[in-house]
């Protein structure tokens, strides 16, 4: 791989051991990809924070051990200097306030807090959410980023028109210290054109509709770039956040075009940029129904845990849930957790939404989610969620049965203890 003089100097250790190890990882990674060079980035969103039991043994040796092993893939333990790129922490495993409800051991909480202090001083901003674009990190069109979190990556590429591949814990760790990432994949204009056409034969309107469409597209498209045609309704942040998360769960979709909505194509022709269309899919009533069925993994109507807010809720989603729960109580056999970024939680608190949800018997969680933390209320057997992503992952990760449905179906299940959702 071709390196600039400055990159060579970092590689050879002239700017310290941490940057040398970071460059070593970037070179190995770049060569594995077949990348010709690196590109400068000043926007890194990664997973640095230590919050799981598997990290505890490493943490006891010192925080620099965690960064060296898990964020740089380095056998050599290096002192970690200040990040050179603007860097933020994505979602973590522990809610700093509600950790007891999660069943987290105090020693893990102490580790997470100590680790946050260590990282914070070095310039890792503690957004602690899977949706950094909701709380201040909104890259502009064309900006080269190094982001993790598949639901954030697809949003970054498609909705914002910024450029990132799906990075990992090690590559973001190296990018934050060097301001470099392999110039490959979605950093290159030609690779951002559409590959497959998806024709909508039915209306796709509410959040559940967009989630189902996303889950369908991920299954049929895999890792390619769909161009969605025939849209009848204008989507917003909430719907596209949900859509992208679903498409990146059932498949590996990292970019899509909705001509006229997403910034890199006004027309279907422009979305394909002269490329030959590799395949066309039609999404109609049968596809929607089949996708809905695929997301249900439960046979039992009695539910005991409702999970809302994946990807983390916007303030408008918090308002809607609070409105639905106003002056009501959830069923005594049911636990309800609603997830939103900490920064949005503060707004929700001031608006009174948190009080309403709390008075109804629900809990507002930040910093984490059950899939990431692998923590559910004790004894959970059957869950219901408005998130295609959680419905996809939670049964696999935690062995529970799952229902997927609309926000109102989920709130209804919270109030009655029974699943009565409809496609």
């Amino acid at each position: 791989m071709k390196l600039t003089d400055y990159e060579k100097a970092m590689y050879e250790g002239e700017h310290g051991r941490a940057k040398a190890r970071a460059m070593d990882l970037l070179v190995r990674y770049g060569e594995a990809l077949g990348a010709e060079r690196l590109v400068e980035t000043n926007n890194v969103a990664g997973a640095f924070n230590a919050s799981t039991p598997s990290v505890q043994a490493i943490a006891q040796k010192g925080m620099e051990h965690i960064y060296s092993e898990l964020n740089l893939d380095s056998d050599e333990v290096v002192e970690v200097p200040h990040m050179v790129a603007h860097t933020c922490q994505l979602i973590t495993g522990i809610d700093n306030d509600n950790w007891e409800l999660q069943g987290v051991d105090k020693s893990l909480v102490d580790m997470q807090r100590a680790n946050e202090k260590y990282l914070g001083r070095r310039g890792v901003n503690m957004f602690a959410t899977c949706t950094p674009y909701q709380v201040g990190n909104v890259p502009v069109k064309g900006e080269h980023c190094a982001w993790m979190e598949s639901s954030a990556v697809i949003y970054c590429n498609s909705v914002l028109g910024a450029r990132t591949n799906v990075e990992g814990k090690e590559s973001t760790g190296a990018a934050a210290l060097t301001g470099r990432i392999p110039y490959w994949g979605f950093h290159i204009t030609e690779n951002r054109r559409g590959t497959h056409l998806v024709e909508l034969d039915i209306e796709v309107d509410d959040m559940m509709d967009w989630g189902l469409l996303g889950y369908y597209i991920g299954e049929v498209i895999g890792e390619d770039i769909p161009v969605i045609n025939g849209r009848s309704h204008q989507p917003d942040l909430i719907k596209l956040k949900h859509f992208g998360a679903a498409a990146a769960s059932s498949g590996g979709v990292e970019m899509y075009h909705i001509p006229g909505i997403t910034p890199e194509a006004d027309t279907v022709e422009e979305a394909f940029g002269g490329r030959k269309i590799k395949g066309t899919f039609r999404y109609g009533t049968a596809e929607r129904r089949e996708t809905y069925e695929k997301l249900q993994s439960s046979t039992e109507k009695k539910v005991d845990f409702i999970m809302l807010g994946c990807p983390h809720n916007s303030i408008d989603q918090m308002a809607l849930i609070a409105h639905m729960l106003e002056d009501r109580k959830i069923h005594s056999d049911v636990q309800l957790w609603v997830h939103t970024p900490r920064a949005i939680k503060q707004v929700a608190e001031r608006n009174g939404y948190i009080d309403v949800i709390r008075d109804a018997g629900g809990v507002v969680m930040s910093d984490t989610c059950p899939a990431i933390s692998r923590r559910l209320p004790a004894g959970t057997r059957v869950i219901a969620t408005d998130s295609a992503k959680q419905a996809h992952y939670l049964p696999a990760i935690t062995g529970v049965q799952g229902w997927f449905g609309s926000v109102s179906d989920c709130v209804d299940a919270a109030l009655t203890g029974q699943w009565n959702g409809r496609a």
């Binding site: 990674y29 893939d73 799906v166 990075e167 590559s171 890792e223």
Partner: protein, 147 residues
């Protein structure tokens, strides 16, 4: 080293591109479905846990993993990284679809890895075949299992 003389008469040799250097041999585990890292595998046992996956409950620990590539969460590399720290990583990776997830994952799992083979490894190699991956030479040598 001359691969042709090293291989047994019935061996099939595929040529490809090195992703991660090294040489390993072992029994193949072949899946025609992509694999999720985070949320798709148990990193303590090396077992595939994804609901509806054709290799659900099967462990790739110590196997030559032959698959189309990675899908799903960006935790892919971190989870395969942990399979190495836990000693349940595959012995080598042979895959067909290059992505950042699989590239970084193979790098940090630190096992020989190879792609862009001149024949489709997913149809040539079957689970149970004996496979030698020589990433530096860019070769995959397959001895079919006795049927």
């Amino acid at each position: 080293m001359d691969i042709a003389t090293e291989a047994k008469p019935e061996a099939i040799v595929l040529k490809g591109r090195k992703v991660v250097a090294g040489r390993a041999e072992g029994e193949a585990l072949v899946t025609t479905e992509t694999i999720s890292g985070w949320g798709g595998i148990n990193e303590r046992t090396g077992t595939i846990i994804e609901r509806r996956h054709q290799m659900r409950d099967v462990s790739f620990a110590g196997k030559i993993l032959v698959f189309p590539g990675a899908k799903g969460s960006s935790g892919w590399s971190a989870y395969f990284h942990m399979t190495r720290l836990n000693g349940v990583q595959p012995q080598a990776m042979i895959f067909t679809r290059m992505t950042t997830k699989i590239a970084l994952g193979a790098v940090v799992t630190r096992v020989p890895a190879i792609t862009e083979l001149d024949q489709d490894p997913l149809s040539v190699i079957e689970t149970g075949d004996w496979v030698v991956v020589d990433a530096d030479a860019g070769t995959v040598t397959i001895t079919k299992k006795k049927t």
